[in-house]
Subunit: 135 residues, 4 copies
Amino acid sequence: MHFHFPQKVLFKHCDPAGIVFYPRFFEMINDAVEAMFSDALRWPFEEIHPDQGVPTASISVQFKAPCRHGDQLVLAVEIKAIGTSSLTLRTRATAQDQLRFEADHTLVCVGADGRPTAWPDDMRHKITGLMEGRT
Amino acid sequence: MHFHFPQKVLFKHCDPAGIVFYPRFFEMINDAVEAMFSDALRWPFEEIHPDQGVPTASISVQFKAPCRHGDQLVLAVEIKAIGTSSLTLRTRATAQDQLRFEADHTLVCVGADGRPTAWPDDMRHKITGLMEGRT
Amino acid sequence: MHFHFPQKVLFKHCDPAGIVFYPRFFEMINDAVEAMFSDALRWPFEEIHPDQGVPTASISVQFKAPCRHGDQLVLAVEIKAIGTSSLTLRTRATAQDQLRFEADHTLVCVGADGRPTAWPDDMRHKITGLMEGRT
Amino acid sequence: MHFHFPQKVLFKHCDPAGIVFYPRFFEMINDAVEAMFSDALRWPFEEIHPDQGVPTASISVQFKAPCRHGDQLVLAVEIKAIGTSSLTLRTRATAQDQLRFEADHTLVCVGADGRPTAWPDDMRHKITGLMEGRT
């Protein structure tokens, strides 16, 4: 099951070469994950904080083709695995049926002290449901 | 040989959890690479463009420890390998003698059409010199 | 007539004080103007460039109340006046029926050389129509 | 007395038109103010927060000439006035002896609750000293 997040490439995203300045892709990925937590898991970031957090522990991105101003990107976020306190995601962004970038990233559920903490039971249930396409 | 780029963690970098919003690390990495091209290779980005470019083809980052407002980060960029048109880098950021993140990234030299092109001879010479600690 | 642009306050917008880092408001304002040109005027920025551009010549913003993560902002862009090559806008952002900020800003239509140029006739017609509520 | 903050125009600042994307100027202004508090007033933002803060209440900017990648900007921050809890600044940015933008901005000292609070006595003393060129 994938969570789809549309993101038109805007003026602010682009660099003097006319393509997306790559750090902006990480903002897009963060926005897509934030939207998934808010819209699909009903656990919006603004409610997670400040008692908990879901920082990114690692991310690996392959840029396959440049993105230009006006491109209608869609980021498809797939939950690959859930651990005690981790979440492994793969996000693939396409435009015009072409893969533009692919990201493998891992989030960690942390407490107010920044240390890893187990996913709350209800969240684990929801995330598992989303993985299995039940939600 | 490493190119060192100091970067204090500023207010703009930090999120509501009081730590660096991770897409900001990619701006720092980009700034460090831009400074290396400008200061160590004497081939500043503003001269590379628009006839050529050095976009990032892939990047993989492990976040080892959070960075907080006021931390005095130093990014050490190491050139690991040079290919016909690629450049493989490893950037390690430390503060207070602690590794905060480590990035493996690959740049590609492209022409005005965005396609990979061989590094100009003088640049290849300079990059090799920097790798070998001759500059 | 106002062009309305909804913008939820996201994690990326917020600073360690838990409120929007104010330079992010200017990205929101830019996004709102870009959306107005694209959706209301049918002259998207990606078509305006590179032959023309609509840079901001001046902007004055009063921040009336802080915006927090999760706030459902709506930016209402009003066209106040059109000159030969200028466009005077007022953007008011509200959330929960409360004014959060108010911006007075002026854009200028420029040519590829960056110099002011008269609005194309069809654009002037559309802009005037939008001002008068005909579109 | 002016606090000078050098800022080379970097790749990340620039848009597809090859000039600085204007919201980036507000990050520069914020960085300049943060540096003035840290370096000239010895009251770094990371120590001000979270018990206090100095948010921007209003800002008005005139963009006089475009800034391009590689330009060596210098932002000169001048303290124009200090009130009970406010600080009125003017920041003028020049490159190659040409004024590029001029900002009039007002900060407010706030407490942890976000409400205006009087400047601490020692800070008022330092700020007044900086205004009068004693520091």
